[in-house]
Amino acid sequence: MASAPLAGSLETQPSVAVREFAAQHYEASGAQQFDMDQAVLIKVLAEIVKQRNPASDNVSEQSFLASLRLEELVLARACARGNERAWEVFLTRFRATLYETAYKIAKIESEARSLADSLYAELYGIDPKGQQRTSKLLYYHGRGSFEGWLRTVIAQEYVNRYRGTKLETSLEGAMEDGAQFAASDPEVMVADPRLQAAVSAELSELDVEARFLMAAYYLDRRTMAEIAKLQGVHESTISRKLERVASGVHKRIRQRLVQAGMSSRQAEEVMDSVDVRDLEVKVRETLRQGIENSTFYKEKGEPQG
C-alpha cells in the first residue's frame, strides 16, 4: 500500500533536481531546528521521488517536489528519528487533532481513546525488540497535509477494527438485529444480452469522476453534503453533476438498446425491471483498460485501505 521507507537499506542516488530543491528549501523547511542536515533532507526527498512511480506519471520531478508539504514532511521525519524538539512541536500541534479526530470517527469516547492511543504508539514507533524505531510517520510523504494524513490513518485503523469486529458478529446476533435472509428465487430471469452489452459499454465509457460520484452516492448512500465536503465544492455542484450523470447514463443505455433493436418502451421496461446481477457483464475486462500499470505501491506494514 503506502511506500515503505527504505531505512537506508537501499541507497538512493539523488537527482540534480532533488539536490537543487533541497538546497533552495532547506532553511524554509525548518529541518535545521530538528538537527536534520541538508544531506538527510536530500536522502528523504530522493526516496520519496523514487517511490512515486514516475513511469506512469507525466509530472516533472520539480513539480512533484514543489507539491510536497516540505515543512510537515520534515517534522514527521524528525519525529521518526526521535528528535525531542520535533515531538514537542508534534504534540503541540497535532495531539489535540489526533484525539479529536478519533472521537469524531468512533463516536464513543472509550473507543476513540483506544484508537488514538494505539495510533500514537505506532507513530512513536515503539519497537518490541528495542533495536530500531519503526515509526509509522515514515509513511508520510508530504503529499497531503500532515493533519489530513493523521485523519486518514485513524480512519484506516477504525475501518480495520470495524471490519474485524464485524466478522465476529454471530448469526444469532445478526438476526436479533433484524437481518433477514431472503430465499433464493427459483425463477432466474434470463437477461437480454443486448442489455448486458449496453451496460457494459456504458460503464466502460464513464469517466472516473462520474463513476466515483455514482459509487459514493448510489452505492454507499453518501449524502451530497458529504461528497461536496470531500471534493471541496458546494453541494449544489454535486447535485448538478449527479443529475447530469444519472440522466446521461439512462439516456445512453436506452439509445444503445434501441440501436440494438429494442423499441423505446421495451428498453425502458428492461432497464427498470431487470436485475443486473443476472447479467454477465464482463466488467473486469472493460474496466481494466488503461490501468495495467500498478497505480499504487504495495506495502507490507500498513493496513489495507
Binding site: 458546494h234 439512462h250 446481477r277
Partner: protein, 398 residues
Amino acid sequence: MNRNLPKPMLDALARQPLPADHPSADVLTAFAENALVGDEYSRAADHLSRCGECREIVFLASSAADKPLQVEEQVAAAYAAPRRRMPRLVWGMSVAAGVLVVASALVWWRHESARPQMQMASREVGPPPAQPVEPAQESQPTIESKSNTELKSRTQSQLSIESKSAIAPETTAELAAPSAPVAKSQAKTPRAKNVSPASAGTLGRGSSAGIVPGAIPTPAKAVPTPATEPATIAISAAPRNIGAASTPLRATPHANSFAAAKGGPLAAPPGSADQLLLTPQVAVGSLRAAHLWRITAGGHLEHSTAEGWTRVLADQSATFRVVSVVGSHIWVGGSGGALFHSHDEGQNWEQVALTTPSGRETATIVSIQFDDAQHGTVTTDTGTRCSTIDGGATWSCQ
C-alpha cells in the same frame, strides 16, 4: 434528488472488480485535499470508484475534518442561482441603479450651480425684496423641524466621520467662532431662519477636513441678514475634555448652537446640535458674514475674506493647533506654548506668555476656551491648564 440511477447500471457498479492494491494514506489524503498532480488523480479516483473500503476511509477522514466549504464557493453558488433564474430583476435593478446615479448627479449639479447665487445673497446688505422675512412665530415650526432634522443628521454624520478618521492634531483644521456671545444670545434672542442647515454642513465639513480656500460656506436657503448684524455659527467641543482623545465628549450647549453675535436671530433651534457626541478633535467654526478663521493642515492660521483665505501670523514659526473667537477677540495657540491674541478681529496681534511655576510653558496648546471676553482657559497637551479672568492680562497656570 432521487437516487434514480438505472438499476442495471447500479448493479454493474456494485460488481466492479476490486483492485488488488490500495492507495496509501498519503495518496488518499492528497486526493481528498485535491493535491494530486498529473495522472495520479485519475488513478486514485478510479480506485475509489471501485473500492468501497477506501471510499469509506476517505469519507470518514473527511467527515472528521472541521474544514468548512470554501466561502467564496458558497457565496458564488448563492448568487449564481438567482442570477440565472431572475435575469429580468437583475436588469431592472441595474437600470434603477443607473437612474439613481443620474438623479443624484443632477441634484448635485443644481445645488452647485445655485451656490454662487447664495454666496452673493449672503453678502447683501439688508433683506432682499424678493424674500421678505416672515414673522418668526409663523414660520418657526416648519423651519425648525426641517433644520433640526437635517442639521442633526448632517452634522452627526460629518462629525462621526471626523472622529473615526483619527485626524492628527497637527492636521486638524479648525474654525473659530465667538462662543460666549453665542451662548448668551441663544437664550435671549429670538430665533431666526437665516442660517440654513446646509451652511452648517458645509462649515462642519470644511472645518474638519480642511476648507478649500475660497469655498466659503453660505446659507443654502437664506434670508440674508443685515451686515450690521452678522450671523455667527459656532460648533465646538468642550475644551476641558480635550486630551481624552478616545472618549467621545458631549459638547457644551452654547458651543453647538447657531446664534447671532449681536442679538441677531438664531437659525437652528436649541438642542439640535448640542446633543451631538463630539470628539476632542471637532473643529470650531465661525460664520461671520463670510468671515472665518481656520487652521490649515500645515498648522497655519488663516482668515477668510471676500477674496478668499489669507494667512495670518505668517511670520511666526509655531505650528498652530487651535483658534478661538470671542466677540472681536481672537485667540490662537499652538506648538511651543505659542499663544497669540487679537482684540480687534485679527487686525493687531500680541503674543501672550504663559508662565507656570516651573517656568515658561513650552508644551503645545491644544485647547482654548473662553466663556466670555474675560474668562478663559488654555490647555496644553501635557495637561497644564492656564486660566485668566481678565481677558488674558494675567494667567494662572497649574
